[in-house]
Symmetry: C2
């Protein structure tokens, strides 16, 4: 394929370990083959460990991260429902769009992009819109690098069953994310971030409460492809292993192996590694005069302001051509204004931190 | 991964060539990396050759085959629109369901499952529902193995712009499919059938007329993930290469290599190979007393009735355990009644034909 050597330090994909690439290249099995069903079940079990949940409905959606967002919204919400969406970056904004396309009345809680939400702000908006069926919030906003604390949020929601929806694209396997302990009802992520698996799947998990909401739907899910009532038999084996669509077999091999690597390292050790290397990178970036955009930065993604007079694209092109290092440009209002330097999964090494600092130092001259 | 050796002769996935597996295991690049953009452009160019089209909007949807169906419907149709759907198997039936979920009024033309549609039948239904915006038909119905001729259909449609939608899941790269010559407006397929690539992508193509219909939409597309107006910039480069979602990079490598193999063999040679081996298999199956279900069989999929007194699952389990051969069971009304023996792409070899016949002969005893 003539693939140039790259060190992927953008907002994803991240550098994929050889073990994952090799697993992915294993011979394709049929999606109903008993051995593949075992691999799928094992993948879902590993996903539960990484999501820290017992949710039976935990599986990889056959689409990329945004597919997970769409799956959650289209299954939990019905036209005419109300929802609160917390917007502090591109992914919150996208959630608003996806909700609206599903006929949902959206109440937006927005703060300046890069800021995170306080419990006070969330408590207040919940009081204002008590009929909202769900509150959606982004745990790791990869457009700004903001890291939203989630521990205290569930207790702020309306006790009559307001659902907590979490976008964990930039955080899963890089930051603590305790789905059961934090009472999250629906969560989705992507394989190409801190899991260091190629892009193509969206790991997802639904609580029992979310399942009940889906079972009580009055209208059919608008999307056949993402309809959980049709998908769940295949993934949980509840009603037999019926064919819905052909699972992306080799991508599931890759995810299984990527999850094995996460669990071999151990979640706590992995989170500590991300934190330690983030500190090292942050010290170096600030020494270079680069300031962080978010008030609380993800360890896995470092979003810094491009200094005045520095040309975004020229620097990134030079980083890529001279060093083979990919860093990300800004998204939305930060286009041309920010760089996003990922420290995710397999890409988060001390060697990469020191190299990216050396390279930036050179390219900023 | 401990993958057992299998010969995949079901309705897909098919056995994937080593070259494709190796390409897929190439290091992951960023989806905006200039080299990856080249690979994506090259993949789309190769797809155009295989689809025999000049359609600029020809690309792989980041979802499996049904995702392609959903993408076509949700982009071309709006709530309140009418459509004609030809149903002679599971995939036509699914199209009805996907249309309905998109708010479309569906006029079903159905024939007995396994039969194909005559030009007379189609001409008649078009006369009856001249306001239908589209007519959808399945070229290779992999639930029944029926091969629908398409050459004469476009001329039967309402000249005021009725669109021709084609499901080419079981036929692309196994049977002639001339998108431009046959005036097809929207076509989708899957990677795991005659392309012999792992499952995970849905190659799709839209005509200029289809593009115009999308541009004239009055409502926004219900699915953000499948919204072509947002996707097209990335795939055609028309408005820059904006980020919409992260393309499944390694799956695109695999598809590129699978398409290269198709084009190296040559389309005509490939179609002849499928035809020749289908004849050989058919002669052998009929000698074993197995009768074909469809009136016109696909070369790529052979759907035969299970003889009375033969136990479906026991035979398939024995085929799998003793010979490592996967054949498919029946779908829908043919569950337990039919087997589906694939002869697709890399799986379509004389050795496999003779082996599956020997194995069936043994397992039927």
């Amino acid at each position: 394929m003539n693939i140039p050597e790259r060190i992927l330090m953008g907002p994803g994909p991240t550098t994929v370990p050889q073990r994952v690439l090799r697993a992915m290249a294993s011979p394709t099995l049929g999606h109903l083959d008993p051995r593949f069903i075992e691999i799928m079940d094992d993948t879902c079990a590993k996903l539960r460990e990484v999501y820290q949940t017992d949710n039976s409905l935990t599986f990889p959606i056959s689409a990329t991260g945004v597919g997970g967002m769409e799956c959650v919204v289209t299954n939990l919400m019905e036209p005419g429902d109300e929802a609160i969406v917390c917007v502090n970056g591109v992914f919150g904004k996208r959630m608003v769009e996806v909700m609206k396309r599903n006929g949902v009345t959206v109440h937006v809680l927005d703060v300046e992009w890069g800021k995170t939400f306080t419990e006070e702000q969330i408590g207040e908006v919940v009081q204002r819109y008590p009929k909202a069926k769900a509150l959606a919030i982004v745990h790791g906003e990869i457009s700004t690098g903001a890291h939203q604390p989630l521990e205290g949020i569930a207790k702020l929601l309306n006790e009559e069953g307001m659902l907590l929806i979490v976008d964990a694209t930039g955080s899963l396997a890089g930051h603590p994310l305790k789905v059961d302990e934090w009472h999250i009802d629906a969560v989705y992520s992507a394989t190409q971030e801190c899991l260091s698996c190629p892009p193509g799947l969206s790991p997802i998990s639904f609580s029992e409460a979310a399942l009940e909401v889906m079972e009580r739907r009055k209208t059919s899910v608008r999307s056949w492809y993402f309809d959980v009532s049709l998908l769940k038999d295949y993934y949980t084996g509840s009603g037999g292993r019926h064919h819905h669509h052909t699972a992306p077999v080799n991508m599931v091999y890759a995810l299984n192996e990527a999850l094995a690597l996460v669990l071999e390292e151990g979640l706590e050790a992995r989170f500590e590694r991300h934190e330690k290397l983030h500190r090292r990178l942050r010290a170096g970036l600030e020494e270079l005069g680069l300031s962080y955009i978010p008030d609380r930065s993800l360890h896995s993604l470092n979003c810094v302001r491009i200094p005045d007079g520095v040309e975004d694209e020229a620097v990134r092109a030079r980083m890529l051509e001279t060093y083979g290092i990919e860093i990300g440009g800004g998204l939305g209002p930060f286009q041309g204004e920010a760089w996003r330097i990922g420290l995710m999964g397999h890409s988060a090494t001390q060697a990469n931190v020191d190299l990216v600092l050396a390279a930036l130092c050179d390219c900023l001259e």
